[in-house]
C-alpha cells in the first residue's frame, strides 16, 4: 500500500476490500472490466482517482487503459454525484413534448442548474440522450428508475417523496 498506517491507511484498506469484493464476483479477465467499473460506480457514486489506481493494481490493467474505457461511457462518473442522479431525456420526442418546461421545473424545485449537485449531496441534475420513453415524454431516470409523462406538479411530488424518504 502506498499510504501505510494511520487514518489514510484505514480508508485505503476499506476501499481495497470493497473493490476486491466486487472483483471477486466476476474475475480478473479484461472482459469483466466494464461490469466491475459499473458496480464500483454504483457503490461509490463515482470512480475516483484512488479507486482507479486500486482497480488497476488488483486486476493488473494499466491505469491509462482503465481511464480510457471509463471516460468513454457517459454513465461512469469521475466527479462525485448526488445520492439521486436525475437524468432528463433531451432527445427529440421528449423535447417536442415540452421538455423545457421540466428543465425549469426541476431547476426551481431543487435550486440548482443542470450539471450541478445540491449542497447536501442529495441530487444531481444532468441531461441524457434517448431513454426509450418516447411515447410517454417528457421522461427522466432517477438512478435506475424511470419516470414519464412529467409535469411540474409531478416533479414537485417526486422531489418531495425523495426528501421525505418515500422513494
Amino acid at each position: 500500500m502506498f499510504l501505510a498506517g494511520g487514518f489514510m491507511g484505514q480508508i485505503c484498506d476499506t476501499l481495497s476490500n470493497d473493490i476486491s469484493e466486487i472483483i471477486a464476483n466476476y474475475g480478473k479477465g479484461r472482459e469483466f472490466l466494464l461490469p466491475i467499473l459499473n458496480d464500483v460506480n454504483i457503490k461509490f457514486g463515482h470512480i475516483s482517482e484512488h479507486t482507479l489506481i486500486e482497480i488497476s493494481r488488483q486486476i493488473d490493467i494499466p491505469i491509462g487503459e482503465i481511464h480510457g474505457v471509463m471516460s468513454f461511457y457517459s454513465y461512469l462518473n469521475h466527479e462525485k454525484q448526488g445520492k439521486y442522479v436525475i437524468r432528463l431525456c433531451k432527445t427529440i420526442s421528449c423535447d417536442m413534448a415540452n421538455k423545457d418546461l421540466i428543465v425549469k421545473s426541476l431547476e426551481r424545485e431543487l435550486g440548482i442548474k443542470f450539471g450541478e449537485t445540491t449542497l447536501d449531496g442529495m441530487f444531481s441534475l444532468t441531461y441524457t440522450n434517448c431513454i426509450g420513453m418516447c411515447d410517454r415524454g417528457p421522461a427522466m431516470l432517477i438512478n435506475d428508475d424511470v419516470y414519464h409523462s412529467l409535469t411540474p406538479e409531478k416533479i414537485y411530488e417526486i422531489v418531495n417523496d425523495i426528501k421525505g424518504g418515500k422513494i
Binding site: D135, R136, G137
Partner: protein
C-alpha cells in the same frame, strides 16, 4: 392467417424449444434461412445466414449476444418486448444458441434499461426451474445459459462491432471489417449478435414454420415489424404492422393525418415529406429501423434538425475524423442557419461534407448521421434556408 401479431400476439411458453430440441441445429438454421427473416435492428442482414457463418467457423466455442442496446432516438420497441414479452426473446436466444452450438449467451442491456435487469433475471430463473434453460434443457444433452451484461451509456455500442469491443472490456469503438463478429467476437470467438426483436420472432418461425412468416410482409421483407411511433400524434406507442405498410396507412392508425413530415428509421433514418407518404416501409423501400417520429404542421424543422445533430455530435465515438469533426461541423452549420448566418456557398460545402462523411466514416453512425441533415433540408429548403 388468423393470427395478426407475431411478437405481440398469444404464445405458449416453451413450445418453440420443445420443437427445436427434436430438430438438428442445421435444420433450425435452414428453417430460419428459408423464412428470409432479416435483422430487425435496422441493418437488415439475413438472420439465418449470420447463424450459418458462425457455424461454419472451426473454433468450437461460440457465443450468441442479444443486442438490447436500443439507443436510436424514437425507438422503444425493445423496451416493450423486454418488459412485456421477455420469454419470447429468451427462447429466441436459446434457439439461436442451439443452432450455432453455443453454450453461453448474453443480453447486452443498455444502462438506461437497468430497471429491466432484475425482472429479466427472475424470468430466466423461472425458465431454469422449468428446465427450459441451464443444464440439459428438456433432458437433452444441450446445455445453455444466459448472462446479462450492462452497458454504461454509449449509443455507438448498439453497433455490433462496438458492442463486442465493449463486452471485451475496451472502449466501445467500431473497427474495420473483416473480421466480422461471426469470425472474431466476444473473447475473439465466433459470436452472433442479434437484435431483441429479431430473436423475439424466432419462436414463431419454429412453431409456425418459415412459410407462415413468408406469408406476411413483402417478397424481400418477410414478416411483420414493430414500430415505435411517437411525436405529434394521438396514440403514440408500439405497433406491429406487416412490412410494406405505407406512411399514410400508418398515420391513419395512430392519428397523425395532419403531419407535415415523418422521420423514418430514427435520427439516422430519413425525413419523409407529405408528397412521399404513399411509399412503403420495408427493406426495399423506406428504411424500416422501427422508429417513426411524426412532426405536426407547426413544428420548426430546423429545431428538429438541431436536436438530431446535437445528438450525433455527442454520441460520435470520436475515433474517425469524418464522423467526429463532420457531425460537429454540421451542428455548427445548423446553428449558423438558426441565426441566419449561413451563406449558400457555405451550405454547399456542408452538403459536400455530408457526402464525404457517408463515404469515409468507419461505421454506421458517421455513415448515416448526415441523413437527417440532407433529407430535412431537401424537404424544407425554403423554411430552413430562407430565414
Amino acid at each position: 392467417m388468423s393470427i395478426k401479431e407475431i411478437v405481440l400476439g398469444p404464445y405458449i411458453q416453451g413450445s418453440a424449444i420443445k420443437k427445436m430440441i427434436k430438430m438438428t441445429p442445421n435444420d433450425v438454421i435452414d428453417e430460419v434461412k428459408s423464412s428470409k427473416i432479416k435483422g430487425r435492428g435496422g441493418a437488415g442482414f439475413p438472420t439465418g445466414l449470420k447463424w450459418q457463418f458462425a457455424t461454419s467457423e472451426k473454433e468450437p466455442i461460440k457465443y450468441i449476444v442479444c443486442n438490447a442496446d436500443e439507443g436510436e432516438p424514437g425507438t422503444f420497441k425493445d423496451r416493450l418486448i423486454l418488459s412485456e414479452y421477455p420469454k419470447r426473446v429468451i427462447e429466441g436466444i436459446i434457439i439461436a444458441g442451439y443452432a450455432i452450438k453455443a453454450k453461453e449467451g448474453f443480453i447486452y442491456l443498455r444502462a438506461e434499461y437497468r430497471y429491466l435487469k432484475k425482472p429479466l433475471e427472475d424470468i430466466m430463473q423461472e425458465m431454469r426451474d422449468d428446465n427450459l434453460l441451464g443444464e440439459n434443457i428438456l433432458d437433452s444433452d444441450f446445455s445453455f445459459d444466459i448472462t446479462i451484461r450492462m452497458g454504461a451509456g454509449a449509443y455507438v455500442c448498439g453497433e455490433e462491432f462496438a458492442l463486442i469491443e465493449s463486452m471485451n472490456g475496451y472502449r466501445g469503438e467500431p473497427h474495420n471489417k473483416p473480421p466480422f463478429p461471426t469470425q472474431s467476437g466476444y473473447l475473439r470467438k465466433p459470436t452472433v449478435v442479434n437484435n431483441v426483436e429479431t430473436l423475439a420472432k424466432i419462436p414463431f418461425v419454429m412453431t409456425m414454420g418459415a412459410e407462415a412468416i413468408k406469408y406476411r410482409g413483402t417478397f424481400e421483407s418477410t414478416g411483420t415489424k414493430l414500430f415505435s411511433i411517437s411525436g405529434d400524434i394521438e396514440k403514440p406507442g408500439v405497433y406491429e404492422f406487416d412490412m410494406g405498410i405505407t406512411v399514410n396507412d400508418l398515420l391513419k392508425i395512430v392519428g397523425g393525418e395532419d403531419a407535415k413530415a415523418v422521420q423514418v428509421g430514427g435520427a439516422s433514418g430519413i425525413n419523409v415529406a407529405k408528397k412521399d407518404f404513399d411509399k412503403p416501409i420495408s427493406y426495399e423501400g423506406l428504411p424500416p429501423g422501427g422508429s417513426i417520429i411524426v412532426f405536426g404542421k407547426d413544428r420548426d424543422m430546423l429545431k428538429v434538425l438541431k436536436n438530431f445533430m446535437e445528438f450525433f455530435a455527442e454520441e460520435s465515438c470520436g475515433q474517425c475524423t469524418p464522423c467526429r469533426d463532420g457531425n460537429y461541423r454540421l451542428l455548427e452549420g445548423v446553428k449558423m442557419m438558426e441565426k441566419g448566418e449561413c451563406s449558400v456557398r457555405y451550405f454547399k460545402e456542408l452538403e459536400l461534407l455530408c457526402e464525404v462523411m457517408k463515404d469515409s466514416s468507419k461505421c454506421g453512425l458517421g455513415q448515416t448521421s448526415p441523413n437527417p441533415f440532407i433529407t430535412i433540408i431537401k424537404n424544407f429548403r425554403s423554411e430552413i434556408l430562407y430565414r
